[in-house]
Amino acid sequence: MQWEVVIGLEIHAQLNTKSKIFSGASTAYGAAPNTQACEVDLGLPGVLPVLNEEVVRMAALFALAIDANVSRHSVFARKNYFYPDLPKGYQISQFERPIVETGSIEIELEDGTRKIIGVTRAHLEEDAGKSLHEDFHGMTGIDLNRAGTPLLEIVSEPDMRSAQEAVAYMKKIHSLVQYLGICDGNMAEGSFRCDANVSIRPQGQKELGTRTELKNINSFRFVERAINYEVQRQIELIEEGGKITQETRLYDADAHETRSMRSKEEAMDYRYFPDPDLLPVVIDDGYLDACRATLPELPDAKRQRFIDEYALSVDDAGVLTSSRDLAAYFEATVVAAKGETKLAANWIMGEVIGGLNKSGLDITNSPLSAERLGGMLIRIADDTISGKIAKQVFEALWQSDEEADAIIESRGLKQVTDSGAIEKVIDEIIANNSGQVEQYRAGKDKLFGFFVGQVMKAMQGKANPAQVNEILKKKL
């Protein structure tokens, strides 16, 4: 039987506010346990939450970016359950009236096909703390630093039909929230994570199959692997005559499998009700207009502009606009390189990204500034150095703080464009390799490369390749 896969994602994006959603405590990552939890975060008797207005602004920006409806009157609700890292015994979230309603986003798959994915809703909520099970000799440690960190939970429609689509959607949202400056997107620190709802149904069937929810997946690779594993598990189970049970499953990246956490029967009744400690969030047109005015250029628009303005290919523009910082780096490089867009694009996508990946760095902390890179690109463009020599210059730029011109000068890397000098070397090589010359003239065209190589070797790679070609052809 042909199976159709149906996937919906719930993405948790941590909003990068300075303080928590309902208290003044810092949200900085990595502090000593429980040093960033104030009386409100600890859920002490008598404390009350006060909404951080910044999260409302961030949610509104997100809504505007996905063309969603911003609820003019959204409500915080209490989600009741007991867990040691949930200090109040309830999580403040939004239930019936989320702040963001019904938007959509376009994704693009590797083969270039495009697809609209619906966003059902996005709501604000507080994160819980962390339970630490190691180092406590059979007991559990609780770190409440993360408790009260603001989250935007973005819930998609079940519109995705493959793990690849799910990854494309997740990447799109990941890029968007970073563009908006509302989430740092750091998946290793848990700032961006997702749950996936997965079901299958016979191709052509309208009604949805029973779904399972895969919890807390924190990398693009794991999303793809977890979904593929789960789809395979469901197909095998059904084809063997079994039935899918609605349940929550945990993806174990090490074992590469999903395991049941709890079934629907064990599902909690969260007893949601409006939080009487917080007033409804009322948003008016003026507020939204002010938010709209601060919207940055979004990824799709930027990519189109890169294609139009810099004559880049769709793919290149896609890579260069994959993050707002990378796009900014590219544009700064183009300026520094006096408009050498093609060179800038190629060097950034090749050497710069390669170098960053190798050293595990991000574009924002690249050892090579856009200005210094641009300085080298100018020298390629004006034939001061060849592309090949430029690799040496690039290495030196990467390792030092020197400017390209200083490197070229001090290491004598300037290209030789004096045709007399080149001719002299070529004459010598022709004289010393009479056998090869004869073969070439007899029709063995491939030997041309040999002569070029000899000339370059003799001139330590500094000869202008075009001139070498031209003179060689003439002389041979």
């Binding site: 002490l44 008797p45 008598g46 009350l48 006060v50 007991f82 015994g89 309830y90 009700f273």
Partner: protein, 486 residues
């Protein structure tokens, strides 16, 4: 001095007839002598009180004293007090030393009051008789075999017995006004949002409001002056200027329109209580007020609605008491579930557990619409009843409670009867209105209270209306005769 009002005590302090330290020591001595049988205090902070009194005396010496400087008061043990046990009268918080001050406590401290200690109450403010306290029942100073009312029973009793010049209280369904009525003191519950709830341990967040128990309306004005105001730490507190309450006490009542809700003068109201209230109404007529009948048609729904909404909110508010971070933890838990079940099972008393269970039930899937949502809809109708009535009258007047203080244990076995002792007070919380209970007489030696209800933020008018009555009568100045403990 202990029979004097806060205003009189303040005047005596300013006239240097007595020092705050002398006064504080006098109250501390009285607490030692009389509180053994009344049981109104959970914690007495003697050393701190004396130190604060000495500090107050220095302010008097420097001429920097305010109206409340050096005045010995008590806080209901529901308000967090930094460095002092804040128990909410529960075994759950018997070991809880609050690491911060409630906004109310801080504001009163800034105003210079001397806190004598923390008063007894119904556990987590759930009760109408002060019998649900982990620290034992409070006795009514007028009749030790009777209850003082609840949940602010300890605060009412210390004011009635002269064991503090005034006390803070909280009112969720009548918890200031009902004990004030039953002990013959003046109890003010301000408009919801007038006094910050920060640091006040939550029972039912949409109903809870801090207020005062005092000997007079004039005293209540002084207390409210210090307690009221916007607090950025409480999203439900309202950013509205605080009027000068004392300045408006003496306005004439000529032409004041008083509404008597016919539903409050009906079946269930004891005839002798009604007589006391009618006598008070006669006084108001003499003062130039016009008295008309009004109707609050949804009155009979107030108690059922309250017992859906309040437990729903409390079921979540009390979830933080789980034995994990503070408060009571059961001995040797075998696992997490055992820790939760036994810590909460052993730490909470019966009434608290009953309300948590009711609340969890009305919020649970399949019942939410039928109970919680419906209750919220009726709550709006109840509020609309009042708004409608206030189109025609300035204040609403009626009995605070249907009967005078009942005897200890009399209603303990029957929660429904107990709940009905708040029949006239509960609707006011559901509507968020301010109200004050004022003593209007005695029945069988036990005090009777009259309730005045005002429109939103009409505290000044309520205090004015209550004060003018107290200028004509002396019910509020009566004091019980106490026997010193052996």
């Amino acid at each position: 001095m202990h029979t004097q009002t806060l205003a009189q005590i303040s005047a005596a302090l300013h006239a240097k007839k007595i020092s705050s330290e002398e006064l504080t020591r006098d109250y501390l001595t009285r607490i030692k002598s009389f509180d053994g049988s009344i049981n109104a205090y959970i914690t007495v902070t003697e050393e701190e009180a004396i130190a604060n009194a000495q500090r107050a005396d220095k302010l008097f010496a420097k001429g920097e004293a305010g109206a409340l400087t050096g005045v010995p008061i008590a806080h209901k043990d529901i308000f967090c007090t930094q460095g002092v046990r804040t128990s909410c009268a529960s075994k759950m918080l018997d070991n809880f030393i609050a690491p911060y001050n409630a906004t109310c406590v801080a504001k009163l401290a800034d105003a210079g009051v001397v806190s004598l200690g923390k008063t007894n109450m119904d556990e987590f403010a759930m009760g109408s008789s002060n019998e649900t306290s982990f620290y034992g029942a409070v006795k009514n100073p007028w009749a030790l075999e009777a209850v003082p009312g609840g949940s602010s029973g300890g605060s009412a009793a210390v004011v009635a017995a002269g064991l503090a010049a005034a006390a803070t209280g909280t009112d969720t369904g009548g918890s200031i006004r009902q004990p004030a009525a039953l002990t013959g003191v003046t109890g003010l519950k301000p408009t919801y949002g007038r006094v910050s709830r920060y640091g006040m341990i939550a029972f039912a967040s949409s109903l809870d409001q801090g207020g005062s128990l005092t000997r007079s309306a004039e005293d209540a004005a002084m207390m409210l002056q210090a307690m009221a105001g916007f607090d950025a730490k409480d999203s439900t507190s309202i950013d509205k200027p605080v009027p000068d309450y004392s300045a408006e006490l003496n306005h004439s009542l000529q032409g004041l329109r008083i509404g008597l809700p016919k539903e409050y003068f009906s079946e269930g109201l004891a005839a002798e209580v009604e007589q006391c209230v009618q006598d008070a109404i006669t006084h108001y007529r003499k003062l130039g007020a016009e008295v008309v009948e009004v109707s609050l048609p949804h009155t009979d729904l107030a108690i059922p609605v309250y017992y859906v909404i309040a437990p729903a909110e409390c079921s979540a508010n009390l979830s933080r008491f789980d034995g994990v971070r503070f408060g009571y933890r059961c001995k040797d838990p075998v696992d997490l579930e055992d820790l939760y079940k036994r810590s909460r099972g052993e730490g909470f008393g019966t009434e608290v557990k009953r309300r948590i269970m009711m609340g969890a039930y009305v919020l649970s899937a399949g019942y939410y619409d039928a109970y919680y949502l419906k209750a919220q809809r009726i709550r709006r109708l109840i509020r609309d009843d009042f708004l409608q009535a206030f189109k025609n009258v300035d204040v609403i007047l009626g009995p605070t409670t249907p009967t005078p203080a009942f005897n200890l244990a009399e209603k303990q076995k029957d929660p429904i009867t107990m709940y009905f002792s708040d029949i006239y007070t509960i609707a006011v919380n559901l509507a968020g209105l301010p109200a004050i209970s004022v003593p209007v007489g005695f029945v069988g030696g036990r005090p009777v209270g009259m309730q005045l209800i005002g429109g939103l933020f009409e505290e000044a008018r309520l205090l004015n209306v209550a004060h003018k009555f107290q200028m004509e009568t002396d019910w509020h100045l009566q004091t019980p005769i106490l026997k010193a403990d052996q």
